[in-house]
Symmetry: C2
Subunit: 210 residues, 2 copies
DNA sequence: TGTAGTTTGACATTTTTTTCACATAATTTT
DNA sequence: AAAATTATGTGAAAAAAATGTCAAACTACA
């Protein structure tokens, strides 16, 4: 049972903590204090302690935090201890790039297949997968217990695809189409808008220039 | 001359406003009130007005906002009226996907070339571009007045590439490598961490499940 | 075992962000 | 042309988030 009452300002920082802690662990660091971590991550030590204490606190006075333990605990909070299967819908450039991304499994995600509506790409290879036709989706999602749909189709088709996969039972959508998708309460949507990130960069460049 | 004193909580919302306004404009909507926009975007009308008023206010009492005008003004604030050239460094899956992305030019970005350190991919075609070798970068950035470097190389190489392009004179880095890149004051960095977005989705799914 | 030094977690304070509420001004209707 | 409606921009209030502080608790080392 997980606490639903934690502000998203806090939970949005967790993945970044997780990334830094994974790196520290990988480089053999055993313990770290909020002060050291704050210097690496460019946030205040106070915020780090406050964030962690939201989940009960994982540190020890006079010692700091055990990197391995902290990493595991944050992983659990993020739900990375649960293996989740996902499908990619849309075998265009973004869909292909995501299909070839090797980092999913490290974080508990298992790519199960890639789908497209265009007959001419069905059967073509993307990484180690063969592109499947859309009508297979319904069956596959139910049969293989697919939890997440990655939507990488054109804007105009995205909401229809979302409605479809929600109906078939996915609990999460990772959306790369240029719209904010809507979904029923049973399904969580995470919209990724690369263009917005680029515009933000443009803004920051403009400000600096002036 | 642009106001540097506006909080990033506000400026981070501008790209999303811009996206919605572009869509409205494209579908022929001429005017919109903060109330209508707030319903579409699922934010409060008050926030919209407050955000816009940071830049002087673009609306008219009793009427609302002129979509075309508002879109143009926000575009200017974001610096989208200035055409900026960019290069992609790293011709892997992400680099290729970005190179094939058609939306850059619509927002004032002009892809100038794609580069890779691996000799075996030099010269191969990516979209309408031919992959160039890294040593060409220095010359090309200066000659073609490249402003932005998109970094899509492996984690361990990313900081070196960043240092390099900063030295050659780029003013912005759009980073897809799994590290937070550091750069001198002359260069703005926008880190895109797709895995963090996916972890955030995982968290939200977990919370819902419990 | 005792003591000096370190570091957390909690709480108080400050700062930032969001929301509310309304005076003002334009539009729209009658 | 007047009245009714609409809707902005702003200053003030409320809420949320970040930061500072410190007692308590542990570590480390002699």
């Amino acid at each position: 049972m997980k606490d639903k009452g934690i502000s998203s300002a806090v939970t949005k920082r967790l993945p970044r903590y997780y990334r830094y802690l994974s790196d520290l662990k990988a480089s053999g660091v055993e313990r770290i204090s909020s002060k050291e971590l704050s210097e690496k991550m460019k946030v205040t030590a106070s915020q780090i302690r406050q964030d962690f204490s939201n989940f009960g606190g994982f540190g020890q006075q006079g010692y700091g935090y055990n990197v391995d333990n902290l990493c595991t605990e944050i992983g659990k909070i993020l739900g990375l201890d649960t293996k989740r299967k996902l499908v990619i819908i849309g075998a265009g450039h973004i869909g292909q790039a995501l299909a070839n991304y090797q980092g999913f499994s490290k974080r508990g995600f298992i790519l199960s297949g890639i789908y497209d509506a265009d007959d001419s790409v069905i059967g073509s290879r993307v990484g180690e997968y063969s592109v499947k036709p859309m009508p297979s989706l319904k069956e596959d999602i139910k049969k293989d217990d697919i939890k997440i749909a990655v939507i990488a189709v054109p804007k105009h088709a995205a909401q229809d695809v979302a409605n479809m996969v929600c109906e078939y039972g996915v609990t999460g959508i990772w959306n790369f189409a240029l719209v904010d998708l809507k979904a029923p309460d049973s399904c969580v949507v995470e919209n990724v808008h690369l263009v917005e990130s680029l515009m933000n960069l443009a803004y920051n460049i403009s400000v600096k220039e002036s």
